[in-house]
Amino acid sequence: MEYEAVIGLEVHVQLKTDSKMFTSVAHKFAEPPNTLTDPVVWALPGVLPVLNFEAIRKTIELGLMFGCKIPEITKWDRKNYFYPDSPKNYQLSQYDQPLCEGGGVEIELPGTNRAEMGAHRVVKLTRIHLEEDVGKLTHFATDSLVDYNRAGTPLMEIVSEPDMHSSEEVFAYMTSLKNTISFAGISDCDMEKGQMRADVNVSVRPVGETKLGVKVEMKNLNSISNVRNCIDYEIRRQIECLKKGIPLVQETRRWDAQLGVTQSMRGKEDAHDYRYFPDPDLMPVKISGELLESIKAGLCEMPFDRQRRYMKDYDLPYSVTSVMSIDRGLSEYFEEAVKTYSKNPKAIANYLINDLLRELGAAASAEASESKSGDGFEDLEGEMTVFGHSSHKERLESCRITPANLAGLVKIIDDGVITKQMAKEVFVEMFATGKTAEAIVEEKGLKQNSDTGELEKFALEAMAANRKAVDQFKAGNDKAINALIGPIMKASKGKANPAMVLDTLKKLIAQG
């Protein structure tokens, strides 16, 4: 019998806000333990929560981007359970009236090769709600320590329908979430920093069966490879059980990344009774029409829409757009440059994705290694991976080459002022100094030689030196002309305008 997997995800994403969810303390990463705290975070006697409006706004923003329905009234509930990372021993969350309902996330499955766009589909969402993160426990031989810096951080929970069937789809789903959320500036979604975590629900059933199988939940997966491996393992395990006739039980399992297996944590009968009830300290929130309109007015384009637009309007290749359209810094830079010079978006995109990113990467890694040796701290940023990298926005903003200047470089190449070969040197100079391409060309006297008289003189010399090539060209061997171009470029010290050289040669050969 053939089996299929049914997978649903609960993805937790920390919001990028100035302060915590219910108090004015800042939330950041890697601060000394228990420094980002106040009486509210410690849950001292008498404190009360105050809603972070920015977090509500950002969650609604994401909901609107995913086409969710935003109910008029949303409320806050207490989820009661004891654990030392939770200072109040209840978590403020949303039980039955979340901020966002329904909607869907467009995903892209891998294409046949990296240059090809893969198939797209929409993964249905159940809801998105807002809650608070908990602190962090560190266990030692006889003691445990708790750090409440993370406690109270605004946390979105994005709940999908059981609408995925493979780890590839889940990867595509999480990639799409990350791209959308980080582009909109709602979160950096850095899994290494715990800004994005996933709970995965997996069940299997015979193909053709419409009823869902027995659900197994795996909690708090903190890297994309863990998510993938855990799902693959769990699908295999469940199918094997069914084939052997071992009944599956509804349970929560823990992923052991070292052993590469899942292990039972607790069964259904041990599930918590969270004793949810409406939080009496917070009033329900009415989402006004004006608020919705103002958020709608500021919504950014969805990454896949942007990609399709780049491919259609600018005729850019898929591989370039798939890098550019998911990064706010790159897209904004690109569009700004195209605004300055609209005739060659392709060249601008190429310079941006290839040359500029390479230079920026080199500069950043030089800086990183310097600071590493300097203060002895580990580089927390880690490698740039799809899930580790944060937007290029900051780097591009501090980059010396402005979008207008990059456009200017492309323009003078197109206008024949400099050759592509020379442009490389100009680009390096621009990156180092921030000067315009024109200024550098002027300073260094790099201007292409378009002096007809001089070029004719070089051409006649070259023809005289190589009659054989002239004759061959005349006889119909088009390639023979290349043998004449080299000496002319050499004579002009590389400044000869290649197009003019070709025209001049053809003209003179035809005459002579």
Binding site: L44, P45, G46, V47, N80, P87, D273, F277
Partner: protein, 489 residues
């Protein structure tokens, strides 16, 4: 110092300070001496940081010397129920759980008082976590009724009421979740008020039942209660349930003929079974006095009154079970020394730290919120709460104020009801509905029973109509003249 000094009111003492007849430090010292003299008998104070009190009084004196006195409360010794957060002061909630806890921040109502120069004096006894009606649930000590030391002062703010009645402070703050200000005020023969839910910020009040708790004043006169209420009331960004509204100068606007032409509603449900006949007679006499002043008295019905106790003990305990979860042995509370692991730490710390009544309510509250029982208990209780609120809304369509007894009996003997929680719960039968409806309620003395113990009249007003409620109480007080009688200790 003459005995009259510690039975003087806020405005009179304030004038004495203005006229330099006494300094704030002298005034504070007088109350410290008075406390040291009588509190061994009364037991209202859990602790008192006397040097902090004198420091605060010194600041007042500096302001007076500079001609910068802040108002009537500047220099006035105010006692605080030990459930209110003041930076650097103990905050025990009368529980072993917080025996050594010192608050690192000051709550909003107390900040408001500080900004008016009030001199905090003492942490006053209460039922543990404000759960009780007699002060007998304090983990530390009994407080006695200044009118009869064999009797309880009421609760849960029994220390706040007894301290004011005994002249150990000029006025005090308490908190009222089901009657915890009005009932002890009634039993101790003073004025106590629970403001409309949302008038006074709850930030800095250790929560018992969040949707019912309010901070309010105790004083020996309506005017002093009005002054103290002005000192604490006001919208607070830190309390999402606090309400933006205009706050008049309550004391300045009191009017002795305010009852004239007003309609008093007397709900028949509050005068039936369980109400002591002497209490009923004195309250009826007080209402007759109001009628003589030109008020119209009409009988009304609040049909859902008898559901108050069950509804209250579902909602309040549900909220409490969650509010008290933070007292867990992990951060700042009592921690059991014999715990083996984290679960054991929770069990033992809470078993050792909480008293019987607190445990009883946490268990009850956890039960009513449990999966499968939520709809039958909590949700249903919320629906009945709405009915209770509507009863009052409907009544206030035709009346200006509702008058009832505050407590069904006068103060009972210490130990009399400790073994019968249900009998204890019934002592709040007249006050609980007011919390469920979120309305302002005030208790003021209306005479003495044959046992020599005071009886209180409860006035219930419309939401945010504190000004009129205080004015009606003032009119009755001026006419009947029960305020100003003090116990001899």
């Amino acid at each position: 110092m003459s005995e009259e000094l510690y039975f003087k009111g806020v405005s009179e003492l304030s004038q004495m300070l203005d006229r330099r007849e006494i300094s704030a430090v002298e005034l504070a010292q007088a109350f410290i001496d008075r406390k040291n003299a009588v509190d061994p008998k009364v037991g209202a104070f859990l602790s008192a940081d006397e040097s902090d009190t004198l420091d605060r009084a010194t600041q007042t004196d500096k302001r007076i010397a500079a001609g910068e006195k802040l108002g009537m409360l500047d220099g006035i010794p105010v006692g605080l129920k030990d459930v209110l957060a003041v930076r650097g002061q103990k905050l025990t909630c009368a529980s072993k759980m917080l025996e050594n806890y010192v608050s690192p921040y000051t709550g909003t109502a107390m900040k408001n008082l500080e900004s008016r120069g009030a001199v905090f004096f003492g942490r006053l006894n209460m039922d543990e976590y404000a759960m009780g009606s007699s002060c007998e649930n304090s983990a530390f000590q009994k407080t006695r009724n200044p009118w009869n030391l064999e009797c309880i002062p009421g609760g849960s703010s029994g220390g706040s009421a007894a301290a004011v009645a005994a002249g150990e402070c000029v006025c005090s703050l308490g908190s009222d979740t089901g009657g915890s200000i009005r009932q002890p005020a009634s039993l101790c023969g003073i004025v106590g008020m629970k403001p409309t839910y949302g008038l006074v910020s709850r930030y800095g009040l250790a929560a018992f039942a969040s949707s019912l708790d309010q901070i309010g004043p105790f004083a020996r006169s309506v005017k002093d209660a009005a002054i103290l209420l002005n000192g604490v009331a006001g919208y607070d960004r830190l309390d999402s349930t606090s309400v933006k509204c205009d706050i008049p100068d309550y004391a300045a606007n009191l009017s002795a003929d305010s009852l004239k032409g007003k309609k008093i509603g007397v709900p028949k449900e509050y005068f039936g079974e369980g109400i002591d006949s002497e209490v009923r007679a004195l309250v009826e006499k007080a209402i007759a006095n109001c009628k003589e002043q030109g008020a119209e008295v009409v009988e009304i019905s609040l049909p859902h009154t008898d559901l108050a106790i069950p509804v209250y003990y579902i909602i309040a305990t549900a909220e409490a079970s969650s509010n008290l979860a933070r007292y867990d042995g992990i951060r700042y509370t009592h921690r059991s020394k014999s715990a083996k692991d984290v679960v054991d730490l929770y069990f033992k710390s809470r078993a050792e730290g909480f008293g019987e009544e607190v445990k009883r309510r946490i268990i009850l509250g956890s039960y009513v919120l449990s999966s499968g029982y939520y709809d039958a208990y909590y949700l249903r209780a919320q629906k009945v709460r709405t009915l209770i609120r509507r009863d009052f809304e409907k009544a206030f369509e035709s009346v200006d104020v509702i008058m009832t007894p505050t407590s069904p009996t006068t103060a009972f003997k210490i130990g009399e009801k400790t073994s019968d929680p249900l009998a204890m719960y019934l002592s709040d039968i007249c006050t609980i509905n007011v919390n469920l409806a979120g309305l302002p309620g005030l208790s003021l003395p209306c005479g003495f029973a044959s046992n020599g113990l005071p009886v209180g009249l409860q006035m219930i007003g419309k939401a945010f109509d504190e000004q009129n409620l205080l004015s009606y109480a003032y009119a009755y007080e001026q006419s009947a003249g029960w305020s100003g009688r003090n116990p001899s200790l």
